[in-house]
Symmetry: C2
Subunit: 354 residues, 2 copies
């Protein structure tokens, strides 16, 4: 038994397909109540499920929303995904998932795939990159996005705009005040604390990372502190771990007379990695070094020592991005919702004098 079609339902109800369509999918015209009743009953008894593909073809709109993340198992993206999913449900749409590992080339593929499926909108999470090696791919991604928008697609990107994207219509950016927040964090950490600052950053050219580094340095400068030393590493846990190892070696080499070290990892997973490395080397936090991260991912809730960080409303970010792409959102640009705000959250990992 193949899935039953509208035509079959119509025949069973003794009406035309047009009428059946009108009653089952709420068009502007509503057939008479008796007819409607008959059609509905026929649909029921046949277990009719409308073919969304066909509907999409006919209406050219699919009720699909594409989500692009680096890695769905990363708590940061998982939280955003939850928000997106939530908003999608409230708009009665479904989300299509694509994971790219952060490579612009893959992201371009994903956009093309979403476009092929005629997704109504696309949400891109995950930091944009301006690295030279990605230049070509980024340009292609931007072109793909432009084309998608010109064809009526809506796209929202979290954080920074895609380099070179120039679509005017249907292109939204959910701005995250990374720089300002990192600056506040630096201010908080510098306050009444005498130590050397080190930043564990991601690869150069990653906007999110670079913004946070820049903000942090600015904060230190404002507080009259010398700039932090910068250690670059991969933008994930193992990157943090490696950087942490290097710092641990250095700390141990410096001996007991060393000045206290205050570490800022540009995201929480890196901070977790660094913390693990320090611990593995026998160092304790915050006694031997203090450390702070960024994002306040859910994992931190039960992580010890409690990590200082900057709280970001990740779920809201996903939700807002999704809503920005909704039909009708364009008509109310003023109702764009509250801008994203974060909050410096100091916890045990940066307690002074421990």
């Amino acid at each position: 038994m193949a899935a039953s079609t509208l035509t079959e339902v119509a025949r069973l109800a003794g009406v035309s397909p047009a009428t059946a369509s009108r009653v089952l999918n709420g068009s502007a015209r509503t057939p008479g109540p008796d007819i409607a009743q008959r059609v509905r009953q026929a649909a029921d008894s046949l277990g009719y499920i409308p073919n969304a593909q066909a509907q999409g073809l006919a209406k050219s709109s699919s009720g699909l929303i594409g989500l692009i993340v680096h890695d769905i198992a990363d708590p940061y993206f998982a939280a955003i995904a939850r928000g997106v999913q939530d908003a999608a449900r409230e708009q009665r749409r479904m989300v299509l998932l694509a994971t790219t590992g952060g490579a612009p080339a893959e992201e371009k593929e994903a956009v093309a795939a979403f476009a092929a499926r005629r997704a109504d909108s696309i949400v891109i999470a995950g930091s944009r990159s301006a690295r030279n090696e990605d230049l070509q791919d980024n340009a292609e991604l931007a072109a793909e996005l432009d084309r998608y928008c010109r064809n009526g697609g809506q796209v929202a990107v979290v954080g920074h705009p895609v380099v070179g994207a120039s679509a005017s219509e249907g292109y939204h950016v959910v701005a995250v005040p990374n720089e300002e927040l990192a600056q506040s964090l630096a201010a908080s950490l510098a306050e009444g604390r005498d130590c050397d600052f080190v930043v564990i950053g991601g690869p150069e050219g990653l906007f999110t990372s670079d913004d946070r580094i820049r903000g942090f340095q600015a904060g230190l400068e404002r507080a009259g502190r010398p700039a932090a030393e910068l250690v670059r590493s991969a933008f994930n846990r193992s990157g943090g771990y490696e950087a942490g190892l290097a710092l641990a070696q250095r700390l141990k080499a410096a001996g007991p007379a060393r000045r206290p070290l205050c570490i800022f990892a540009v995201n929480d997973v890196m901070a977790i990695g660094a913390t693990a490395a320090l611990r593995a080397e026998g160092l304790r936090i915050p006694r031997d070094a203090t450390i702070a991260g960024f994002d306040d991912i859910e994992t931190l809730r039960d992580f010890r020592p409690a990590l200082s960080t900057v709280r970001l409303p990740l779920e809201d970010i996903g939700r807002l991005a999704t809503r920005a792409t909704a039909r009708g959102a364009a008509e109310h640009p003023d109702e764009a919702g509250p801008p994203i705000t974060g909050a410096v959250t100091l916890r045990r990992s940066t307690e002074a004098g421990a």
Copy 2:
């Protein structure tokens, strides 16, 4: 400018749509090289992207695979989702995501929505429930799944079959040896340890939870130990936390002369919650109580104290489930891949004599 169509490409190339389709989407018949070249060039210059909806309609197959989870931000599901995504990519398909919070009614909705989109297959993660309150919804879910399968859909469910599902064709179950593994865990924990066992379980009727409880008790019995006391709670972190709180009170009331307590939480997030509760109450692990979980979610990697657990290859589970639903997998039932195995993993949280 609307997205260009196959017909436009064909016209530009000076061939018929049929020919254009043949060269661009690899049919059985391949047109001559010169023509192919012309068509490809035309497609290129127009930035042609095939309309997957139309393709799906024509071929009645969408290249979509539906994934149903309770909560995408739960590390357990996120890990499975990663596996699914990975397998999907290797089959050049896209994944549609649905989160249900575990409610069978929502799951039924999701299945219907996937069916409407003509998803080629559906992967259901998340534990099945046999609770009375869910009886009706479960029956409807089963009916929906049956219908989906009869219409040629492939479904794979992780863990237990859906109650009442009776489709013979296209219905796969990725079995997880919860009971056996829980039994092994109990055996390991009972070995050379004198203590009272307590199990923190999920709500009655949740298969995963019940299986693990049953296995654990069986393991204790085999080891000649009295059955563990059972505390039921929600199947998530806060459930674990509440149960942990109760246990903490009891421990503290019992005073220093108490017998050591060994806790088994039926999954890791509950174990984490319980641990947090004990810690919040000033108790230490493993000194004041030992604890073990189940799943070995990625979060555990950096959780302290290191939690004993049962390692489950979550990503593989997702991958296997997805592969089981792939076209062609049915022809090679013998190549169903290795059965899922887990491994008792003892860590610091259950170290005796600490």
